[in-house]
Subunit: 324 residues, 2 copies
Amino acid sequence: MSSLKKCVECVKRHKNFLITAHVNLEGDALGSQLAFYKLLKKLGKNAVIVNDDDTPYEYGFLPQKNKIKRFKTGMKNIKFDCFAVLDCSGLSRTGKVYTINKDKKPILNIDHHISNEKFGDVNWIEPAASSCSEMIYKLYKKLRVPFDRESATMLYAGMLTDTGSFHYPNTNSFTHKAVSELLKHNLDIARIYKSVYENIPLRDMKFLSAILPGIKLEAGGKIAYFVIKRNALKNKKLSFDLSEHLLSFARSIKGVEVVLLFKENLRARGEIRINLRSQGKVDVNKIASLFGGGGHKTASGATIHGSIQTIKRKVLARIKMSLK
Amino acid sequence: MSSLKKCVECVKRHKNFLITAHVNLEGDALGSQLAFYKLLKKLGKNAVIVNDDDTPYEYGFLPQKNKIKRFKTGMKNIKFDCFAVLDCSGLSRTGKVYTINKDKKPILNIDHHISNEKFGDVNWIEPAASSCSEMIYKLYKKLRVPFDRESATMLYAGMLTDTGSFHYPNTNSFTHKAVSELLKHNLDIARIYKSVYENIPLRDMKFLSAILPGIKLEAGGKIAYFVIKRNALKNKKLSFDLSEHLLSFARSIKGVEVVLLFKENLRARGEIRINLRSQGKVDVNKIASLFGGGGHKTASGATIHGSIQTIKRKVLARIKMSLK
């Protein structure tokens, strides 16, 4: 039986769902879980969404976002018989939400990360899908649940953001076909784009423009990276994750193959977050996994303990090897 | 008879075509004319492409780009019985290329600009189309000429660039359906995107990151603008027009309605070039036309004589009035 079919049976079999997604919420996590929530409701099921993070303000346009509950320790009175985890390569990516499932109710794992750990009782993993939202789109089709403007907006948000506005290599013929169908529901794509990408507070933009000149190049210009130290982040109260903007700025440079961001974690001393993007020649998922992280071939991340200098040296050396 | 049908008859009726597009060549002008050229060749016709500008280096990935001839005064020995003008709202937008048609051979005008002046003997104008490339796509379908990797790449390039990677409001369900079909031909979309958008020489990026912190805001943050003086531009040898990047950076700020760039012209003292972009509430075409320029409601420009201080003051005052 195909994994999609197993997922369909799992959905049919259960009545009460708890839905969660990964921490550092973004368009695909939010869009896919809201669309899945709506699908379950249309099938007459009960569902509740719990996330370990607040919904970022740039996703304020998402319909039914007020249905999302923020995780609290001791969330006991949530009744569910299926624990649905979306867009997460591992259970720990849910933050603390997985602790709610202390009674070990069946886990439904829906994800498109190649690095997925298959932690579910039912695992529907499609690394070829552009996004988890694309998979939920397929679930609607399989279950013959028609789209409306709300579900189309949710799924569009996920596909838009996980494909970087349809230009990452994960974008395929099927993605565009799906979006073509979603756009029949009169979506306000300009508003959605503005909300997600053109909604950066001025102080964040000032911070961003102060960091940009610090870009460094290596390997004859094939690697571009930024280093952000604790001191630079302190007292900034950034309301927006600028990583994507920095990575995209670095990627705009002619000849660049791999871009990176090394960031000292504000909350945990000695902890470095690295984000990696590749133009395709270097498999950054492989590199991230050497350092205990993972993701996709062209977009990955890892959290490493150590000094930023040592980590920088090691990671750059590893990328240079891959470039040869 | 529909305009598309008239276009089809015009294509069938003629044997030798001269194809041109607008000056300041970009993806849609190049993609649509190359795809049209290829279509004619497949139909057993003769065709030649003449443009008044060189093909920008970021379009180096386009198949058959070496078929494009650069206009020269006295181009006499080109034999053609149909003068095909693509993606041009008026004949003068072809630069000097229209002067080749001194014998007044029938003009085929294929365009998607709402401001098109209908200068052709056959005018096929579709303002609802995302791009001229989308129209050439329709022509392939109508004439039942199958796509291959080359024609699909050409048309994809046009649709990608004229929709700003599928996020401008001109992007519709049909656009995505067409792209879905084109992507079946194994296109290297990452390479195409990198070539067009992520191909900025390092020195240009350094110049850009030096300008960014100089952004100014007015009208309670509803207007964002940059001023670039002659001195900043001298001896820079910029190979890339960074205006779009600056404007897009400014547009990313939360709450911004209108973004502007004031630039002293390097070649003509006392001449200021202004570029305006609006999120939709302010009609910048109206404002630009007050200063002798024009364009679209959300994207316009003007060249004004005077001091940059005076011009800045006048233009900003006019925008503030429109914001009220």
